[in-house]
Symmetry: C2
Subunit: 274 residues, 2 copies
Amino acid sequence: MNLRPIGIFDSGVGGLTVLRAIRARLPSESLVYLGDTARVPYGNKSPATIARYATEDSQFLLAQGVKMIVIACNTASALAAPILREKFPDTPILGMIGPGSRAAVAATRNTRIGVIATAATIGSGAYEQRLRDTFAAQHRSPAAISSVACPLFVPLAEEGETNSDIARLAAAKYLLPLRNSGIDTLVLGCTHYPLLRNVIAETMGPDVTLVDSAEAAASETAALLASQNLLAPPDTSPSDSFFVTDAAARFSTIAAAILGNPPASLELVSLGAA
Amino acid sequence: MNLRPIGIFDSGVGGLTVLRAIRARLPSESLVYLGDTARVPYGNKSPATIARYATEDSQFLLAQGVKMIVIACNTASALAAPILREKFPDTPILGMIGPGSRAAVAATRNTRIGVIATAATIGSGAYEQRLRDTFAAQHRSPAAISSVACPLFVPLAEEGETNSDIARLAAAKYLLPLRNSGIDTLVLGCTHYPLLRNVIAETMGPDVTLVDSAEAAASETAALLASQNLLAPPDTSPSDSFFVTDAAARFSTIAAAILGNPPASLELVSLGAA
């Protein structure tokens, strides 16, 4: 049993969809969230820069005394999870790629899976590799894996363009080739994309299952803490803290929309440069 | 006469439209360009963070021995130009707001001017103030100044969506209210926006003059260097250097599209954090 908080980081607000899922799944756990809003987005940056930012984010969370780290950002998970596990071997670290891949393999019937994510995540090939490994562990192999980068989805979500004609046109541009490829399962491989879920579902049609890594990551967070005997006692009153590296007022507004309430505790911090 | 280079910085690739105008106007000047691609975009960050980034960008250029600094980024100009002039009093510093405002006041016939820019630039009120000051210096006053933030234009330009249906829909969303307001002059108050010039012109119609601060800034750069006797001799063979803080290959591709050739000299550097 362990009262220390769970650390969660993202480049900005997208990871709040993961925090929301963890909060619902683990009501007794205290959570510390870091949004690196001074350097958002990560998805158009290089692997070396993403690894440096993710390392600084993790160091900050560890300084807050967290008992595990959830990388609530697919880009950082794809590019930096192995590096973080090597740098911080004593802390359990959960990325988004594993939970998302396992949920997709469990959901597909025709083993044709699509993945949508940032340019950096798609460029890394991390989902494709993990999906193949997950099938292989079950002595299966996929009929097809199709990956598409959707670089406008993060700015659309950040600007609140989640249910507009612009969002629908962007979805058509990115998703119609995927829809026509016969996939039955689509991984939302970026924590911002659940904010565009309606438009994505509309474009893909009712026969395609959308996999949101947030739900899968929340289950795996619970399982991981349980297996290491790190869960807080069930009757604990949790306290959540939020940190951002820039533009706290804007973050607070978006957080209120995603979480239902503005963060009670929100602090502006500096990472990297002084 | 002075052989030292002109320093130009931007958050990313947008400032290359300013570099291109300065290169055309001042063929004997050597240029040093810095694109802070590790922290792009600036337009959705807070004033304090933008000021810090602009200070680090300027310090880097000064370390390259530049004789003047052109802030080829409207957001940094709007939020940080006064701070930079105070911190670096010995270096002439030209922002985008003054040249853009003077060009707009010279162009308008009905003194109804529109300004489009990032959320940070619009939020600063810098253009509105400078336009009023420019009119006042001529003992005139404007009939109307209308400012609109276009937060999706930078991601659209960065993703090469400059002539697509998505770009047209975004332009309609942001610009139709401006078009209906009776302006005859529209300031493209972000160095990325000239990349969307066709779509903006199409949406605004033939009766609205588009003011691109790049041309105005290039003229004022020439005038400022001449007034301080800092021009290079007319027969000098210039050499240009480009620096970015991330993703050099991507920068090189976009630079080739804007400038006609990929940068001959492009180096990856770190600012702020090590």
